[in-house]
């Protein structure tokens, strides 16, 4: 409890690779929730014990797949009501989850607990350069307010 500043938490956690649950990396972090200004995202510092796996190959495969599509990608309800999703949409799903992580961080306080629930809609935005751009509509579940 830091007077006039906020609440600081020291954490020890283990990161699990989503694509390979047996691969883990230890992590220590400090999270500061600011007193007063609830619009400020919590400040996060972290150190990893070791390296995260290199994803260049998977990234390139995904990039090339999307580039080779005839029309801009459009998809909805990932996963569907039953929790299923086509394997081909798995990278789109993961990308959406990563992006959600940022939004969740920006909106987190000590009294929130967010999880991404579903990608309602995603569409690829046409670009003239070599970047890929996606417009996501994502539902986030906040546990406390439900």
């Amino acid at each position: 409890d830091l007077d006039d500043v906020g609440h600081k938490y020291s954490l020890e956690l283990v990161l699990e690779d989503i694509l390979d649950r047996d691969t883990t990396v230890n992590c220590t972090a400090e999270v500061l929730y600011h007193l007063g200004n609830k619009n400020l995202a919590p400040a996060v510092q972290f150190t990893l014990e070791g390296d995260l796996k290199n994803t260049d190959e998977a990234d390139n495969t995904f990039y090339n797949q999307i580039r080779s599509l005839e029309k801009e990608l459009v998809a909805e309800n990932i996963p569907d009501s039953h929790g299923n999703m086509p394997p081909a949409l798995e990278p789109i799903h993961l990308l959406g989850w990563v992006a959600s992580g940022y939004v969740i961080w920006q909106n987190s306080t000590e009294n929130t607990h967010f999880h991404p629930a579903q990608i309602k809609h995603v569409k690829q935005v046409k670009r003239s350069d070599e970047y890929l751009e996606f417009d996501y509509m994502i539902l986030l579940h906040e546990m406390v307010s439900q």
């Binding site: 005839e70 569907d80 009501s81 039953h82 081909a88 949409l89 999880h115 579940h141 307010s145 439900q146």
Partner: protein, 384 residues
């Protein structure tokens, strides 16, 4: 014959599959027409036995990924035929417990379960929902000359928590399929009557199938029909409206216009109140989070039998973990989760039922409410 799931990743692969479907006359299950085959969308087809080898070779040569969903169609067909294996006699033919079912099918299932197990099972009406649907529970009671205490379990008080009704159905199936052969279940039925309510919030459940997968509340109209739904698990008469609620209809934790304002709440509460001196254990099943929660949510003051409650819950969590390694946390709602008032579990304990627990089933957020069907079996088995 085999059923394959194939995912063409490129336009070329999609075209090749269209070609194969048309020339080999394969039985395309999904999509409906070869012309609808798209890159990135999965495709399911039944391949006649004589063509299986040739087809797989062709897929391999074009680097098209596939998975065998059904290795032997004939075997599966035989399994779901009436007059098949005797172990299916007590359970409705072909009811797939590893899939989620809409309410209409659950109603039918309840009827069939009662009919095919009439020596043990009776179907009892509890009341009506807002939209006038009948709420019924299954009473599993082994005839005996000694009076038995009751274990009550309800599922689906929150519409979007689909794994919960799936678990109630699984539970009933397990009990009825195994009570003759499994000594633990035999002993259970010798000593207790089981009352199972597979879907408490029927209107909400239907709404989550038809309109909004993440609906939580019931479907009572407010503000002249401009806003819908009360959180039934904030609507019970236990410190109602005090903490962890909203008085605003648009919130997902709206506690209603008063304690027991909702017909679903009243149906359950009046019944349990009447039978309370015979009810040993009140269980209510939710998702997600992987918790076994004890009273209370409205206060951190522990209940009088806290030690015993926690002790039993910890044994349950240990047994659960023994199955697949899944970790459940044990503790009171107010300490482990958040503050809430008006919960059915708190209310049940306050009127004197000694053992009251809220289960939050799998998972911890990866899939959340949309738990894939391949997790139904392990979730139910470990919880069993």
């Amino acid at each position: 014959d085999q059923v394959l799931r194939v995912v063409p990743e490129t336009l070329q692969q999609a075209q090749h599959l269209q070609h194969l479907c048309s020339t080999l006359l394969l039985d395309l299950w999904k999509p409906l027409l070869p012309a609808d085959i798209r890159a990135g969308e999965d495709l399911q087809m039944r391949v006649p036995a004589p063509l299986v080898q040739e087809l797989k070779a062709s897929l391999d040569q074009h680097f098209i990924a596939y998975k065998v969903l059904i290795p032997d169609v004939q075997e599966l067909v035989e399994q779901s035929m009436p007059g098949g294996r005797s172990s299916y006699r007590q359970v409705p033919q072909g009811y797939v417990y590893t899939q989620y079912h809409p309410m209409k099918e659950i109603y039918e299932w309840m009827g069939q379960i009662q009919r095919s197990n009439s020596e043990l099972v009776t179907l009892q009406e509890l009341g009506m929902t807002v939209e006038n649907r009948t709420m019924s529970y299954l009473q599993i009671s082994q005839p005996s000359n000694k009076p038995k205490k009751i274990i009550w379990m309800d599922c689906g008080i929150h519409a979007r928590e689909w794994i919960s009704p799936a678990f109630c159905q699984w539970f009933v199936k397990e009990i009825l399929q195994n009570y003759k052969s499994d000594p633990k279940i035999r002993r259970l039925l010798e000593n207790w009557d089981l009352y199972i309510l597979p879907v408490l919030n029927i209107d909400g459940y239907i709404y989550s199938w038809e309109k909004d997968r993440f609906w939580r509340k019931n479907r009572s109209p407010h503000q002249h029909g401009t806003c819908y739904g009360t959180d039934l698990n904030r609507n019970f008469n236990s410190s109602w409206g005090s903490v962890g609620v909203s008085y605003n209809c648009s919130s997902d934790i709206f506690c209603g216009s008063g304690p027991e304002s909702e017909p679903e709440t009243r149906a359950v509460a009046h019944f349990i109140e009447r039978k309370k001196s015979d009810i040993l254990c009140y269980l209510t099943i939710h998702s997600y989070g992987q918790y076994i929660l004890t009273p209370y949510g409205s206060t951190t003051t522990p209940p009088s039998n806290s030690e015993e409650l926690i002790h039993v819950a910890e044994k349950a969590a240990a047994a659960l973990m023994g199955k697949y390694g899944t970790r459940y946390k044990v503790g009171s709602t107010s300490l482990l989760l958040y503050s809430n008032s008006g919960s059915s579990r708190d209310w049940a304990h306050r009127i004197g039922i000694p053992f009251t627990y809220t289960f939050e089933l799998r998972d911890t957020g990866t899939h959340g409410f949309a738990l894939p069907p391949d997790q139904i079996q392990p979730t139910c088995e470990e919880t069993m």
